[in-house]
């Protein structure tokens, strides 16, 4: 395993008495794709959203433990949560363009982080759309509302938007589950290219997808970490009988 980029230590999360994540300790390697797998309701999304503290938006959430990104614990008091989130691009399950034009969707992040110069913004928009291989499809309609794009294009727009804030990490919460197979394929291809520059954490409940993408795998079951390790080991020589049953398709 290459050196860890994110290190989670004894993380516990509960919502209004419901214990969702139980004492999770694991490492996420740098510049690889780590997939979080497990049946629905096992805490995959909560784990992902703990990393950029999006779980803060939920009322009545309680967290203990540490999520270290580099040397910073994102849950430390006195940490500016916007700094944490700026380091992490987030792609949600359903495409969620903002109520503005395609151009402004991408420029939104850089603008709030202080880039005002039009020429610089133009460059960022073009570069990010190209990286998300959307540029050719939208270059002539940048001022049109982003909601006019197809679902597949919207999700690539969300990827481009995430890249525009120059993050170190990409957090993906089942980003292809609402897409047709061709659009899903586009996103997967881009992530495989992007992993040379970014640490990618990818939540999925589609085992075949995890097998296509993963370098490193985390298997959660009912809020507990069952197994983590390199993809080949977890998929083909799992040490825990529950992992073995899950990857063989006995349940889930």
């Amino acid at each position: 395993m290459s050196k860890p980029h994110i290190s989670i230590q004894n993380l516990n999360v509960s919502y209004e008495g419901h214990h969702v994540l139980k004492d999770i300790t694991l490492d996420i390697p740098e510049k690889q794709i780590t997939t979080i797998i497990g049946p629905s309701g096992c805490g995959k999304t909560t784990l992902l959203r703990s990393i950029n503290r999006l779980i803060d938006l939920i009322d009545g959430v309680k967290v203990s433990g540490k999520v270290l990104v580099g040397k910073t614990n994102v849950f430390d008091n006195g940490i500016d949560v916007t700094d944490i989130r700026k380091k992490m691009g987030f792609i949600a399950q359903m495409p969620n363009p903002l109520p503005m034009s395609t151009y402004d969707n991408i420029a939104y992040g850089p603008r709030i982080h202080g880039i005002k110069e039009r020429k610089r913004l133009d460059q960022i928009v073009e570069h990010c759309l190209q990286t998300a291989s959307l540029w050719n499809e939208v270059k002539n309609r940048l001022t049109e509302p982003a909601s006019k794009l197809s679902a597949g294009q919207q999700q690539r727009l969300c990827l481009a938007r995430a890249l525009a804030i120059e993050p170190e990490v990409l957090l993906c919460d089942e980003p292809t589950s609402a897409l047709d197979p061709i659009s899903a394929g586009h996103i997967e291809e881009q992530l495989l290219t992007l992993k040379k520059d970014y640490t990618i954490v990818f939540v999925t409940h589609v085992l075949r997808q995890a097998k296509r993408l993963a370098d490193h795998v985390i298997f959660l079951y009912l809020g507990e970490l069952v197994e983590q390790g390199p993809a080949e080991t977890v998929f083909y020589q799992p040490s825990d009988p529950k992992t073995k049953a899950y990857v063989e398709g006995v349940f889930g």
């Binding site: 950029n52 987030f90 034009s101």
Partner: protein, 282 residues
């Protein structure tokens, strides 16, 4: 015909019937007002102030009331808007489920149903206390109070419907609460905000009771905020109260002008809303 099909048709007819009653009422109001006021309608109605003594005048027009109403509604809407938008944003994005938020919403709902004469009397009492006489400013403040609960509560309901996924998208990019509120929530809720303004203006421009004591009446166009101001609803009220048929006819004409102003405001804001709908995420 089987029972379910019969049922389907019965309720469909019921719905169409109700809709027709509503549309029909609007059309018949317009027809009656136009029919009764037609003889008094003329260009001079729109371009002149009353002549031949006070608002009972049989000559001249009601320009004083048209301008007065526009000033009153415009000023009140401006004041109500700049206080409503921050209040609605605060209730939705900052106050959460706090006691203050619950209390504020409850108060606004009560204020919404307070009869407008109460706002008028309240405004008048304050003005007497301060030694002010009936004036444009007094009317504007009374109408702003009348508009506030409508604006805040409509905006509030619209902002509640902004999907969480949009806020999440903004926060995930490292936006602060204020940035998310101003750039995302306000944009998404914009058509609804316009609707809130329209509803409030509609109530303000047609209200007579709240400005009866606060704005007063005058046959001149107000020259400053401290002059009394005429208004269309009061013009209708006073003209209709006279024993002279010619003046009563002018009341219908004034009513018709008021209706046309409200309708054009409504149509204009509908067109505007359509433009702003472009970027809204459905």
């Amino acid at each position: 015909m089987d029972k379910r099909k019969l049922e389907e048709n019965f309720y469909k007819i019921l719905m169409i019937g109700s809709t027709l009653i509503i549309v029909g009422s609007l059309v018949s109001i317009l027809i009656v007002v136009l029919f009764k006021g037609a003889l008094a309608l003329s260009i001079s109605m729109l371009t002149q102030t009353p002549k031949g003594g006070y608002y009972l005048g049989k000559e001249g027009g009601i320009l004083n009331a048209i301008i007065g109403s526009l000033y009153l509604a415009g000023g009140a809407t401006f004041i109500a808007f700049i206080t409503s938008l921050p209040t609605a944003l605060y209730l939705n994005e900052y106050a959460g489920r706090s006691k203050l938020a619950i209390f504020t919403r409850q108060s606004l709902d009560i204020l919404w149903s307070v009869p407008s004469i109460i706002y008028g009397v309240f405004g008048f009492t304050i003005m007497v206390y301060l030694g002010l006489r009936a004036s444009l400013l007094g009317g504007i403040i009374a109408l702003a109070l009348l508009e506030l609960p409508i604006m805040v509560r409509v905006m509030d309901e619209v902002m509640k419907m902004v999907p969480l996924k949009l806020k999440e998208a903004s926060y995930a990019l490292g936006a602060t609460k204020l940035e998310t509120t101003l750039n995302v929530i306000t944009r998404q809720a914009l058509p609804g905000v316009l609707m809130a303004i329209l509803l409030a203006v509609g109530r303000a421009v047609g209200d007579a009771a709240s400005i009866l004591f606060t704005a007063g009446y005058s046959d001149a166009i107000p020259g400053s905020l401290f002059d009394p101001a005429a208004s269309l609803p009061l013009a209708v009220f006073f003209q209709l109260g006279t024993p002279f048929p010619e003046v009563q006819q002018r009341a219908y004409a004034s009513g018709f002008i008021l209706l046309v102003i409200v309708l054009s405001l409504s149509i204009a804001s509908r067109l505007l809303t359509k433009r702003f709908m472009r970027y809204v995420i459905k």
